[in-house]
Symmetry: C3
Subunit: 337 residues, 3 copies
């Protein structure tokens, strides 16, 4: 069960060009390409004639030509010419998807095109805000996207999974606050006077206790922004600070695989390429640790498809997220027309 | 749904010898071998005792011995001896299939042996006619056999898929004639005054416009003979001609895989081995292009199992073929006894 | 359908240590490790919190810690601490399995812990009896365990499958006696005055005819002890003897895979390491021949899921085994509470 009337990240801007390529979102094969003017286009990747993938074809101006028998589609998905058929085809074609290119990502609206709503794109402007810089990439995970979203909504796992990078050993001792606001879930945790994580120790050059503030925002259906602010504790002789945001889009590729787009941005040492590399490499390593445990978790989940996990206090964010998603999916189902 | 009372090509003559081997036809595992006199034998490849494959055993004269516990079968499939059982076994065995070796191929009758009918073998005598020569091979495709049959029944794809070999760029502008005759579908297209395809340009040494005649015969359940005659156009100063036949047997291995036996034969330059090599290599390359698009097409088809493709004028042959096959399969079902 | 209230071999003693690892039995993922005192522990390998595998975690004294969020379990499977939760958890945990370490193997009781019954462990004391010695290993077979059990209950296959090692060419000519005794099936065959098998010829240095006695004991659910005694025949001028036991545990990993634990032990030439190596290598080679035919047999079985094999006289042991297992499984089902 997916939320269809929603934006999903399909690609990085620099992946989409004049060479069409295929990628799945929500179990659907899609073709991505750009018009001559650069505007990104996303269509169902199955020719209406005999279902050959359009991504195996080529572009003719702004149109895409099926590489099998030459059916040609406009950027809207309408079939505009059929070789050997003089009359222009009517009412046949493939589904075209609303697309927005924003902040370096290609956002695809997977539901009813009449309900398209740009305001539902989460505020990920930090991806291209000149006051911020960073680097990211895409992981392909062999797990349902929910397991990845839920990984990020309970950061106590850092203590166990990311010992050399993101671990804050006291994380499990600090309470969470959870609130729902404007159809987002906000999870916060303030850890005062702790030892900085290995990553922040180096990034912020901390040698004394810090206050570490986690501010995590879940935006349906699959976005997590992790906003972390670390400043020297009031008892510290230092007066330092460091702030990063990890912007995560967990796009369901299929029910058991996820394309995980992420970027870690910071608002300090903007011109320090070594810092960019250090934070990117550190986070990349941490996410490979997540990938390992999540893929194993999915395998175990598969052995017990009907079992219910046991919730515990740190899962509050996950539980709230589950309720919000269920509400939105039920609403969408009941208001389908 | 397969047509069972029909011949399927199981192997090239030179593949079958005194070393039994396994191959699937219509989802069934079969064992192929030859008697001492050379006659080819095809049996179900599952010992009736405990289903070990007979192809993992060995021959004892004309009989085949299961390599697990020694059950022995005659070429008819009857179990003729069981180690440690003195009495000759009665009424047990494996299914044996009528086999005809003809024109270098091993033809297997997959249905009711009482209805076996040699006249249903398509006229592929060109495979061994001394007035013709050529070379072919077997491809294993990851697609249902219908997608391959239908590839060959609509040759407009050559323009898009086979640009460097079989393409006749005007093909989509010429109409088809379709007729059903004696339970075959005949698709014809005459293209007058066109530029010869790259393959024919070299094979027939044409430099001026040609008349290109396509004569395609579908014989149920899975045979396509493509008879192509190219002669200098009446307005041409040349007086040349070249004729080839591509003989195709698309044997369903499983519902999603096909063994594609083909041979391209010609009736000119019979002793020219370079010509044999040129035509074989050209067609082999073209068929690898077909394989690429058909396998991708199958993958897309799998994502939408209940969808119906949109027919268009060049699909007439495919549509007629579909009707004929449906009629034959329904008839077979209703006359099953 | 498995028999649950039964012991299954999960591992060799030397495989289980302070590094937890995962192995499946009866389709269930289990984690194996040892307490600090060395006692082996087997638990369900799914954290009750979010189903991450405990085997991806680590040990804390005798407890195992989930590597995802730190849930900690005692050797009984009870969850004893949750990071960030002060109160000790109650009534949550994972299933723990009764375990016995005996004769170098780790035996796991997969059913109702209240019905655990050590007397149901088959008498495999030869594995560590000082009067016997030998060497074995584990094979992982891509087949249901029944096909392996049944392979060992009809040794006539040796004549066909194991020509260079275990074959006794006259085996099919000698009758079997079958009896059920105390819920075991005993299959016996006495072959007098035969040529010794290649393996025994060398192991026992026989040059003249022998009496070869096969005494095969099936103990539910998946144990086969093959006790073979070969002595010089009364007409022989030699006076030699050799006795081996092949102890086999065929543990269902999943419904289509089996962990096959075996050891070949002998009670002669105890200090002869070359003899150990010779018998181990010979049997290992023979079992690789079994693996090849059984895995192919499973593939053929898969093509005909509802077919019934044809029994013949040498299958008597298999048939009796089937009846006993059916009786035990039905009894277990009817007495489930």
């Amino acid at each position: 069960m997916y939320l269809n009337n929603a934006w999903y990240v399909g690609a990085w801007s620099n992946e989409v060009n004049r060479q069409p390529f295929q990628r799945f979102i929500l179990d659907k094969p899609l073709v991505f390409y750009r018009r001559e003017t650069g505007e990104p286009i996303v269509l169902d990747d199955r020719c209406c004639h005999r279902f050959a993938p359009l991504s195996a074809g080529w572009l003719d101006g702004d149109n895409i030509v099926c590489g099998y028998h030459g059916f040609t589609y406009s950027p809207s998905g309408a079939c505009v010419s059929i070789p050997g058929v003089e009359k222009k085809p009517k009412k046949i074609g493939v589904n075209g998807y609303p697309v927005v290119e924003k902040w370096g990502w290609i956002w695809v609206w997977m539901g009813d095109a009449e309900k398209v709503d740009d305001t539902k794109i989460p505020d990920f402007h930090y991806l291209q805000d000149p006051a911020w810089t960073g680097h990211g990439e895409t992981l392909n995970l062999k797990s349902n996207y929910n397991l990845v979203v839920e990984n990020l909504l309970d950061l106590t796992h850092a203590k166990f999974v990311h010992k050399t990078t993101l671990a804050t050993n006291d994380v499990t001792e600090f309470p969470l606050t959870i609130k729902e606001e404007n159809e987002t879930i906000i999870v916060e945790r303030m850890m005062r006077g702790i030892k900085a994580s290995p990553l922040f120790t180096r990034a912020g050059n901390f040698t004394e206790p810090v206050d570490h503030h986690q501010h995590i925002i879940f935006t349906p259906p699959c976005y997590i922004s992790i906003n972390t602010t670390v400043i020297s504790n009031s008892d510290s002789s230092e007066n330092k600070s460091a702030e990063i945001r990890i912007l995560n889009a967990l796009t369901p590729e299929t029910s058991t695989t996820t394309n995980y787009f992420w970027n870690l941005v910071r608002c300090f040492s903007l011109d320090d390429e070594d810092m960019t590399k250090f934070l990117y490499e550190g986070n990349k390593f941490a996410f490979s640790e997540d990938q390992a445990i999540i893929e194993k978790q999915q395998q175990m989940w598969d052995t017990l498809p009907n079992a219910k996990p046991v919730p515990f206090p740190h899962d509050k964010g996950i539980i709230q997220k589950g309720k919000l998603m269920e509400r939105l999916i039920t609403f969408e189902k009941n208001n389908h027309n």
